[in-house]
């Protein structure tokens, strides 16, 4: 199942809930304000790093939403993969369901 999260972890706890719910190895796509979770210097960085390293979650971020918010590659947690809308569609197509954490 593909999980999409559009809330900043600095505003809501939907990303945390998503990580708790998602089975190991699942793709999690950060969109809209959800992309703020990628900030390596942020206080929620360890939560994202653990999700990747301990639960093998594949964490993606939508490139255009990163750009809109001025987040550069250098500021990002290593291991977060940047994709575009075509990548979003491909992830949705290869997953059996899409769960939007709204």
């Amino acid at each position: 199942m593909l999980h999409t999260v559009n809330k900043s972890p600095y505003e809501k706890n939907s990303l945390q809930r998503c990580f708790e719910y998602a089975t190991d190895g699942s793709p999690v796509l950060l969109i809209e304000n959800g992309v703020y979770a990628v900030l390596a210097a942020g206080s929620h960085a360890s939560m994202v790093e653990e999700a990747i390293s301990q639960h093998q979650l594949r964490v993606y971020a939508l490139g255009s939403d990163l750009k809109l918010r001025g987040i550069s590659k250098e500021q990002m947690i290593a291991g977060v993969l940047v994709i575009d809308y075509v990548g979003f569609v491909n992830l949705a197509a290869e997953s059996d369901k899409v769960q939007s954490w709204l």
């Binding site: 255009s64 075509v86 569609v89 997953s95």
Partner: protein, 130 residues
């Protein structure tokens, strides 16, 4: 593969309507079928043709209408959500004794059954909202 999309937020108040549109374009660009876009809750505000954004801004409503025309996408607005928010086509306006209608080209007003059908018919239903 067949996709359906659900939009729950109004244009210009949240990014969801923009994200949904760009996702819809990418679905079609990848050669998939877009069975339906269903507008629910504040999402029905995507369907008012009276919206007049500044010329240097994106026109969310016109963009959807163009998508319907170019790619024959079924744009469905929930009737109960639309009535609450003053979105009406000619028939709805007449039925409710209103002096005007405002549904944008390419949109149609129908019921929640269309959302259920969109979920059943499509391989993937992707929801955009707040």
């Amino acid at each position: 593969m067949k996709f359906s999309i659900m939009v729950n937020e109004a244009p210009y108040s949240h990014q969801a309507a923009d994200t949904a549109y760009h996702f819809a374009k990418a679905v079609l660009a990848q050669g998939h079928e877009l069975f339906r876009v269903f507008f629910y809750h504040d999402g029905v505000n995507n369907g008012t043709r009276l919206a007049t954004p500044p010329q240097d801004d994106r026109n969310v409503v016109a963009r959807w209408s163009a998508l319907a025309q170019e790619s024959d996408v079924d744009l469905v607005v929930c009737v109960a959500a639309a009535q609450r928010r003053g979105i009406a086509d000619v028939d709805e306006a007449r039925r409710n004794s209103k002096d005007a209608d405002n549904l944008a080209p390419g949109f149609r007003i129908s019921g929640l059954g269309q959302l259920i059908e969109a979920a059943i018919e499509a391989d993937r239903l992707v929801e955009f909202g707040d």
